[in-house]
Structure formats: C-alpha cells, structure tokens
C-alpha cells in the first residue's frame, strides 16, 4: 500500500468520523435520553451525557407491562428458534443428500418464500388463525415468525450442507454408524457455524418483529416488546424518557450478542439473513 499524504489522511479520518457519527448518533441519543429526568429531557438541552438517573427504568419496570412483554418476547423467540432449527436442519440435510426430481424446486420455493414481505403473509395467516381459534395467542405469533425464519434456515443450511462431501458420512457409515449417528456425530459438528448463524438470525428476526406482532396479538398481556412499546406511544403524558429506556432495553441483548458473536453476524448478514 502506498503512503497517503497528510491531507489525504486527514480527509480519510474525517470521513470515518462522519460515518461513525451518522451511524451511531441516534443510538447514542436513545441511550443518554433514557438516563435523563424530565427536566433535562424537556428543558435543559445538552448534547453531552448526563445528568444520570434510573427513574425511567424504574417506572418502566414497575408500572408498565414491560416485564410481561419481555417474558413473551423471550418465549416466542425461543420457540421460533427451536422449531426453525429442527425443521430447517432436517429439510436442508435431506435436500442435499436425497436424489429426487424437483428437489431444486424445494430450495427455490424456500428462497421465494423468504422474499415474501411479512405483511402479505400476516393478513392470510391471521384469517387462518381466527378460523382455528388460535388468534391472539403467543403460539400464533411463534408460527408466524417461523414463516420467515424457516425458509431462511433452509436456505442458509442448504449452502452449508452441500459443501460437506458425502464421503465424510459414508466413511462413518461404513464403520458401522447408522445414518442418524453419522449425521449427529460427523455432519452436524462440521456445520455448527451454520446452525449457530441460523439460531442467531431466527432469534433476531423474532425479537425485532413488529408487523406480525401488530397483526396477531390484541391482548396487552400477550404482546411482545416491539408491539408493547408501541402501545405506550400516544398516552396522555409525555413519556419519552420511558420510551427511550424501553428501546434501550430491547436493543441491549442485540448489542451484547453482536459484540461477542460478530463473526456470525457479519457472515449471516452478508448472506442476506436479515430480510429487509
């Protein structure tokens, strides 16, 4: 690499700063606003952090349904991840190992389904849930989330499984392993990064989803965090402090996961794992 002149270097650093401020300022503002009291939120404006108070968080956790929504979000996300992992591993593995006509159509349909916008699926799904008597339940939301995460899982894992040569498991099976044991002991460990990526993104899609939650859930105590937080908007009192505290708490698990698992994140993101 050739040396940059001082001017070029400062221009480059300037651009980096602009990029960082552009990407991070709203997040920064959300976090510092969540720690401010009403006086500093509405009267004394300052760009710097502080004054620091936990009032917003206390109010949020003690006097709203936030803890209930949190539990709901965890339940729904966990359920979605489990269903997705089991189903997508089975389907993706079968598609790569079985020989039958139209198997590429299966993969094609998955990719096609993955490109569906949530709202287009939400309307008919809700209608079906009403008919089944499942409307307004967490189960219905979990199933809805699987309509995005399952195609994603199959699509990503198909990419992983097809790279693993058949000889690996055949060798194991010659040694007396059953197909199942060969799969669990030999193939699965090799695709662990893929499985982990699918788990992370299924969690992420379920945790951040607003559209399905808006359509599927009506009862307050069954809402997940994004939909629940939305119901706090438009109340009589100005509650920006609490809303920012609520937002920060939703973002927190994502930021922590991102810090520790960024390799998987970047890999998944590059493969288009977050639709949108």
């Amino acid at each position: 690499m050739n040396k940059l002149t001082l001017g070029q270097r400062s221009a480059l650093y300037g651009l980096v700063c602009v990029t960082v401020v552009y990407s991070f300022f709203p997040i920064y503002w959300m976090i510092i606003s969540s720690f401010r009291d009403d006086n500093s939120l509405y009267a004394n404006f300052s760009l710097l952090p502080g004054p620091f108070t936990l009032t917003n968080y206390e109010v949020l956790l003690e006097l709203t349904d936030y803890p209930t929504w949190f539990v709901n979000s965890i339940l729904v996300a966990f359920g979605t991840v489990c269903i997705t992992l089991v189903m997508s591993v089975l389907i993706a593995y079968s598609v790569t190992r079985l020989q039958f006509r139209g198997k590429m159509a299966v993969v094609g349909v998955m990719l096609y389904a993955y490109m569906f916008p949530p709202l287009l699926l939400a309307i008919p799904l809700f209608s079906l849930f009403v008919k089944l008597g499942l409307a307004d339940t967490r189960l219905s939301l979990m199933i809805s989330h699987c309509t995005i995460t399952l195609p994603l899982g199959v699509w990503l894992l198909w990419g992983f499984f097809k790279q693993i040569p058949l000889d690996v498991e055949e060798a194991a099976m010659v040694d007396g392993c059953s197909r199942l044991r060969a799969f669990v002991l030999v193939v699965l460990p090799l695709t662990l990064p893929g499985v982990l990526t699918v788990a992370i993104f299924s969690f992420l899609l379920s945790w951040t989803d607003y559209t399905f939650a808006l359509v599927m859930i009506g009862t307050d105590s069954l809402k997940t965090l994004p939909a629940g937080l939305d119901t706090m908007v438009g109340m009589y009192e100005l509650r920006w402090g609490e809303l920012m505290a609520g937002s920060t708490l939703i973002a927190l698990p994502l930021l922590v996961m991102f810090m520790f698992l960024s390799r998987y994140f970047i890999h998944g993101l590059s493969a288009g794992a977050l639709k949108g």
Binding site: L98, G108, S127, G159, Y210, K275
Partner: protein
Amino acid sequence: MRGERVLYSIFSVAIALTALLILYPAYHALELSFQDLDSFISKPVWIGFGNYADVLAMPEFWNALGRGLVFSGTTIALQIVLGIGFAMLLDTAIPAKPLVRGITVLPYLLPTIIVALTFQWMLDSTVGVFTQFVRLFGYSYIPWGESGTVAMTVVIVLSVWIWTPFVTLAFLAGLQAVPGELYEAARVDGASAWQRFWHITMPQLRPVLTVVLLLRAIWMFNKFDIIWLTTRGGPLQATEHLPILAYRKTFEMYEVGQGAAVSAISFVILSVLILFYFYFFPLDEKE
C-alpha cells in the same frame, strides 16, 4: 444407501408442514381476494374479480402505487450510493477497522420500532435534537407531521439509515474479491483514482450490484413497519403506499377482501422481481 427410507419420511413430513405454513397462507390470501368479507368471522361470499375491479378503480390505489415507487426508488438509489461509499471507505486502511465496521452495521440490527421512536423523539417539534439543530439555521422545527413531502423525506431517510448496511456489506465482500493486481496495473498505466473506480472497481462489482438492486427492490417495495410506525401513512395519506393501504383496508376499514386484493397485486409485482432474481442467479447445487 442405508437409512434413505427414514430420511425420505422425515423429509416428507417436514416439507408437508412447511408447505402448510407458507404455501397455504399464500393460497388463502388469493382466496380472500375473491371474496366479499366485512370481517374475519363473517361468511365469505364469492364475488370473482369484484374486489380487483373495485381496487383498480380507486384513485387511492394508484396514488399508493405511485408513492410506493417514489419511496422504493429513492431509498434504493440512496442506499446504493451510500452503501458503495461506505464499502470503499471500509476497504481502505483505516484505524480500528472492525469497530468502525461494526458501528456501520449497527442500524441494520435494530428493531424498526426503536428507530421509529428514536427519530420521532429527535424530531419532536419543541425539544427534539434535530429541532434544536435546524434552529441554528433559523427554522423553527421540521414539519414532518403536516407536510406530506417532509413526511415522505423523513421515512426515506429512516429507511436509508436502517438498510444501507446491507448494501455496504454486500459491496465490501465484492470489493475484497477484486484482484489487487488490476489496480497495480492501472496505477502503472497512470490511471486516476476516478478512472480506476469507474473502469476497474465498478465492472468487477456489477454482479453484486444486480443482486443488491433486485433484493433491495423486492424488500423496499413492500416495506410496511417503518412507515407505519413513523407516520401511519399520514399526513393526509401522503406516505400511504400499497402495504399500508392493504393494512388499513383490512384492519381499519375491515374490507378484508379488498385488502387481500391489494396484497395480491403487490404479490404479483413482487413475483416478477423475484423471477428476475432467479433468472439472473439460477440455483446451483454444485457451486
């Protein structure tokens, strides 16, 4: 091979469940669009293409379609320009690169509700941080609640902020695949930075550009949550595009059949784009 039968049966069950989960709702959406329904519990009446005729005769539909094109066209163009810019920046030798890359990707991970709320707070007409900022230039506030153009600009800016990282990452991967020798050769030939970008980088990035363009088009055209959370389609329908029209028809006016017809039309438009995608990028089992 041994165990094939088991594998086949597992596969059949899994695929049947998936079909039930994805294809059946898609079929049901079409079914709804041919029915007259004023709620989800009323008895459906088959009316053929009645809903489509009604929807296509509504000026709201055409307005919404137009707005959707403006919204998706603008956001895609801006995302691509910005995304290429960020990718080039991240591809050079900058300090703390992983950190900067991580921060650039962050907006993409955030739930839309958070982005919508945070920007609304920043745009608050009396104490928002953007409001304080524009006051330095003599404006009193940003009228995104009353001016249709400003509201549209705001949802576009938000969408660009959230979804540009997708483009950045895609181009970053593309750039890293460009062989360094090409640049060396060009430099020896005395090509300027702009010439190098235009004659080497861009041609190398063309396949990435096609993917990104198609995927962005597929996803931006049907974006619902960010607009709904920020403006609810207002003011005076200024940001109402097809998905919002479909939602309002279905869940506010309870013209369920018409809502489904609007969705079905979006679905057809979407399918054309997806078929293009499959045409350009056929599935390859070997790779």
